[in-house]
């Protein structure tokens, strides 16, 4: 039961993007389409899961003085693995995500989890935490991408869903749209969290 909680907390209660404001750069940069968002979310989840596992395994071997560099090496390795694999097998997606794949290294979600969770908990817990946070991150990305793709292109996952005469609000997939969508979504979340008007 507690393991499930360990996982689901990442979805909403401790959502890395919406609640903890971590990993904002990719949340904006690759959220112009749901496809990219899922790709990015998947890549980050993989790295998060693997680094969580490895770090919770190695936590007793790593002296605390050099733990941060060690974490970084571990994370960077997994990032590179994802980078190379995607480049080989998911060429288009890799091209779309661009430098944001190597930049997963500095995604605060991952280092944050390594430091705050995996370095202190056992492997099983860390796995669930990693999956939960990864899904939470992906959900946030998809949520932003949902609105941006819907409004900005009239599509969802590349399929036209709006009426034929719908005029896409292009700005939603441009840079300002990313900021505005995330800002308004965050506001909406706050509004839902505390129902008192305002």
């Amino acid at each position: 039961m507690s393991l499930i909680k360990e996982m689901t907390k990442g979805f909403f209660k401790e959502n890395p993007v919406f609640v903890m404001a971590l990993g904002l750069c990719p949340a904006l940069a690759v959220s112009s389409s749901i496809e990219n968002a899922i790709g990015m979310g998947g890549a980050a989840t993989f790295v998060l899961l693997c680094s969580n596992i490895l770090i919770s395994l190695l936590k007793n071997l790593i002296p605390s003085k050099i733990r941060i560099p060690c974490y970084i090496v571990v994370i960077a390795s997994f990032v590179t693995i994802v980078d190379m694999t995607m480049n080989a097998y998911l060429f288009e997606l890799h091209k779309n995500l661009g430098i944001f794949i190597p930049l997963i290294v500095v995604n605060c979600v991952i280092l944050g989890r390594a430091e705050a969770f995996a370095g202190r908990n056992n492997v099983v817990k860390s796995i669930f935490d990693g999956i939960g946070m990864g899904i939470g991150f992906t959900l946030a990305l998809v949520a932003v991408a949902f609105f941006r793709e819907l409004l900005g292109a009239g599509q969802l996952l590349g399929v036209n869903v709006m009426p034929a005469n719908y005029q896409p609000i292009l700005i939603a997939i441009l840079a300002p749209g990313a900021f505005l969508t995330l800002g308004l979504l965050l506001g909406l979340m706050n509004l839902l969290k505390k129902p008192e008007a305002d």
Partner: protein
């Protein structure tokens, strides 16, 4: 590429924060007060310049010749982390006043994706050594400029009846979005 073109491009057209979405955490986190925004900006300019220089050398004199390009990410991030540590130590010893001003911001910079970002972009766009350094400087300046503008605006917002649900992070993002809209004016510059 001329210096001027490079500068305008890195500062305004492809501003790291507003069009490349890099360095958002410090952009949102350290823009509450003007003073700290200036301090952070200076620290970022400094580190980005150093990082651009060193990572370029690593790429072209270690990774490329020894066919180790797949180690780029690890090498760069470790270099930057070490660099920040080193810079922190040096400044602390050599210029205590500067350390006092920048000290708190330096550790934050390790996880600032703008620094790793500028290093990777330098390599991806095949900039020359000098261009890389300049790109680092100008990208840092671009970051600083929007950070300072943001801080100025947010100081005023502190004294505005912003709806409760929009206070803090949400309004900052909306503001950043509106800033990005104004910066659209720089898009398509032919220089």
């Amino acid at each position: 590429m001329g210096i001027f073109t490079l500068a305008i491009s890195a500062i305004f057209i492809n501003n790291f924060v507003l069009t490349r979405f890099l360095g958002l955490c410090p952009y949102i986190g350290v823009s509450k007060k003007l003073d700290s925004a200036i301090g952070m900006g200076m620290a970022v300019i400094f580190v980005m310049t150093m990082a651009s220089t060193i990572t370029w050398l690593i790429q072209n004199y270690i990774l490329n010749p020894f066919d180790l390009v797949y180690l780029q990410t690890i090498a760069f991030i470790l270099t930057i982390a070490t660099l920040v540590q080193f810079v922190e130590m040096v400044i602390q010893k050599m210029a205590p006043a500067l350390y006092k001003a920048l000290g708190v911001f330096l550790p934050l910079i390790t996880t600032n994706c703008a620094v790793l970002g500028v290093s990777i972009i330098n390599i991806n766009e095949q900039l020359s050594f000098v261009e890389s350094i300049l790109h680092g400087v100008f990208a840092g300046i671009g970051f600083t400029i929007v950070l300072i503008i943001m801080a100025g605006l947010r100081e005023n917002l502190e004294k505005a009846p912003v709806p409760d649900s929009m206070k803090g992070l949400p309004i900052s993002f909306v503001l950043a979005g509106l800033m990005a809209m104004a910066f659209l004016g720089f898009a398509g510059f032919q220089i």
